[in-house]
Amino acid sequence: MIKSLYIHIPFCKQICTYCDFAKLVGNPSLMLEYTEALIKELDYYSQDLTNIETIHIGGGTPSALPIELLQKLLIKLSHLFNLKSLKEFGMEANPNDISEELVMLLKKYHVTRLSLGVESSNPLHLKAMNRSHTIHQVEEAVSLLHRHGFHNINLDFIYAWPQQTMEELKRDLRYALSLKPTHLSFYALILEPKTKLYHDYINHEVALIDEDTDASMYEYLLDELPKNGYNHYEISNFALKGYESKHNLAYWNLDEYLGIGMGAHSQVDTKRFHNSTHIKEYLLNVENNHCGIESYDACDLIQETFLMGLRKVEGVNLTAVSNRFLINPLMLYPKILKNIEDHLLVVENDYLKLTQKGMLLLNYVERSFI
């Protein structure tokens, strides 16, 4: 049963140096065509979408869509779903796109959660990332949202950015806390091929920070955020009690989800597939009712229960796994025991979970499941 719906808006006003998501700089007519394709794709799947509990509009930059197109999409969603009764309806936005008009629109269509890409409090780093906003705009956006009673706000930050110091991270954290969000994501930089940053790195124009500093930064976040009331619930995610992202938890719990839009991934009925990552091809496919036809991968549910589940701080319920798949996880993955001996994993109240050390070495731990 599909309970989560993801809608991808691939447009951006400018491209961040580190980003390898499906995105492009759009023009008005293309954006219109795209919005109509989304609506057509929603219609295509409407029969399968009767039990949706969470919706997330991500990107790209959803707020890069002209407001009337966004409205068009929201109207369509309001026809398909009782938006008011969703457990979570989230959207991503750039801080400099937050306007009175946008906030009113989001409220009207019962968007409950807004995720802002803040990334850094250091203007130099923001420039190096090619972000379009200023710190001042972040503060204005947050205060505008608060004024309109919009409090469920996530702020995204990137750390371990080239040349970032521990002091700068501490400043970012203080800054983040001062904005009083309900949720914080701190992502260590992932150097992705096919990005400007990667290109600069290969050409020795940019150096990554060393592993020790990266590790210390993460440990600092793991110490400080819970002290300030932000509960660590996934590798990179922290939330005030009750504000964990329900939509994202669907991914980590391997619940079924449908993704619509260019490059969007779906997992339905133990199958994984996605739309074309090329805009023209995507539009043509929707036109011809060929949705979600790329790479039909079968999921290895047992394995992925661990790969995804261990990302959650609470871990994986061993009894639930045994009952669901009729296997003994410790027999199937004997290296779990070695990881427990090495203090990377621990079993607590029937949950297999990462220790703090394991949290830093998840890739190592996960190789035991491959």
Binding site: A188, Y251, Y257, S266, L307, L360, E366, R367, I370
Partner: protein
Amino acid sequence: MSNQDLLKLRQKHIRNFSIIAHIDHGKSTLADRILESTSAVPMREMKNQLLDSMDLERERGITIKLNSVELQYKAKNGDNYIFHLIDTPGHVDFTYEVSRSLAACDGAILVIDASQGIEAQTLANVYLALDNNLEIIPVINKIDLPNADPVKVIQEMEDTIGLDGKDAILASAKAGIGISEILESIVKNVPSPTGDLDAPLQALIFDSYYDAYRGVIPLIRVVNGIIRKGDKIKMMATNAEYEIIDLGVYTPKEESREFLATGDVGFLTAAIKNIETIHVGDTITHAFEQAVSPLPGYRKLTPMVYCGIYPVDASDYSTLRESLDKLKLSDASLQYEPETSSALGFGFRVGFLGLLHMEIFQERLDREFNQNVIATAPSVNYRVVLNDKKIVDIDNPAMLPDLGRVHHIEEPYVKATIITPSEYVGNIMELCQRKRGTFKDMQYISANRVELIYDIPLSEIIFDFFDKLKSSTKGYASLDYELSGYKESKLVKLDILLNSEPVDALAMIVHQEFAYERGSKMCSRLKNLIPKQLFEIPVQAAIGSKVIARSNIKAMRKDVLAKCYGGDISRKKKLLEKQKEGKKRMKSVGSVEIPQEAFMSVLSLDDED
């Protein structure tokens, strides 16, 4: 005319030759051109470097294996000739292969690059050809290059080799210049095979390879007599007997024939499944009408360098042995015997002609036999004289007897011939000195080119001498060497300890003077090569119980992907699988995982870090 007479007339029209050259002087291109002009290969089937049939050969631009092709050539005198062109390798490691192929020839085309002149392997190859009494046709190649200086090169040739400059053919294989002169010169100057068609069969096996369906396929030169399909044959060294199923020649496509007569060069198949019975250098005769004696075989080889080869997965030991047996068929110089290592388990000690040979062997193991192996650092063979005067040969540093029992250690030396433009003489002397070489001789082969002779320890030559020589002469110097004998040296065994445990496969024998330097470089090199593990690993270099250098591999601290949402899981799994695949190339020694490169790092210890 009787059949026999026809065959004798045919024999007079056979020309067996090979092309010899220093590496990169254009041997394979010339071979291609000859194939093309004798229409052995239709133009549309031409791919560059036809005779280099292994992917490995084309990729690296070198010839490793011998190949023979039969070509038809209509000479200007109106007669048709049968050419057998036998390709030869150019690299110093494969001198032995050259000598094998030359034994199947009556003449040789000596290719010299018109811009480079005489190089070390030019000389080495000429001497081999002269040893085999071959007629030499000198060809000055690449005359179309702007910096070609054929007059100077011909002068060099007259002065150093003593060939008559008037015989030299000016050519450019690439541009197709001089090819018909070369073909006519083959007809005129290379003698026809001298063997006796009426004598009992004697065919020399000069190479062989293994075919999964047809068994061992020997390549032969019929020296006397005639061999036919269906004949019962006998291998004179191993006494094994077979019935010929098929025989023929390469054109370069395989072409079956009814017979191969005196002077012919070709292949045969006889469902030979027992690899042991076929020795390169052996003589094939008829089972019923045997030759009195075998042909002179090949000299037995001494490998120059040895290393341990171990399966990454211990259960692959027996398939590794089978692969070695099959490789040996087409690589007669390969020598191996089982050995065990406390770090690596059961494997083999394999002897090679040089480092390139070793590298190629490993790549072939991987590509052709899908063997995942760990190779230990190469070592030369040391002669250890014990206090009781007993002499022990040690080709594995780990086996060096306790120094208390050792009277002294001798190491192999080579006579190294280096040819270089004179401006680099200083650099080369400095390099040779640093490599413990002794100056022997220096000759000007022309106004600005010099031949230097040094006596140098083989271990120094093998490691990185060639690379160093190239880099200190901008690539202009060339090198050839041959074993010259053993000399006493002040050598010590350097042990490497990981996590306080000595790893026998990393032990090396080094000159006392270099021990500290190499020990500390090895420690810092291993620190970079061995991936971080969950715990800190001390790396130490020790002579006996004395630790002379150390470093630490820090514990892994962070390895986690910050983001993993819906679409990321498939990517993530691929990443994890790739990392896991990388681990297959590592060997667990105790609790430490060591990558292949670590065992080889000793080779580049003299590089600047």
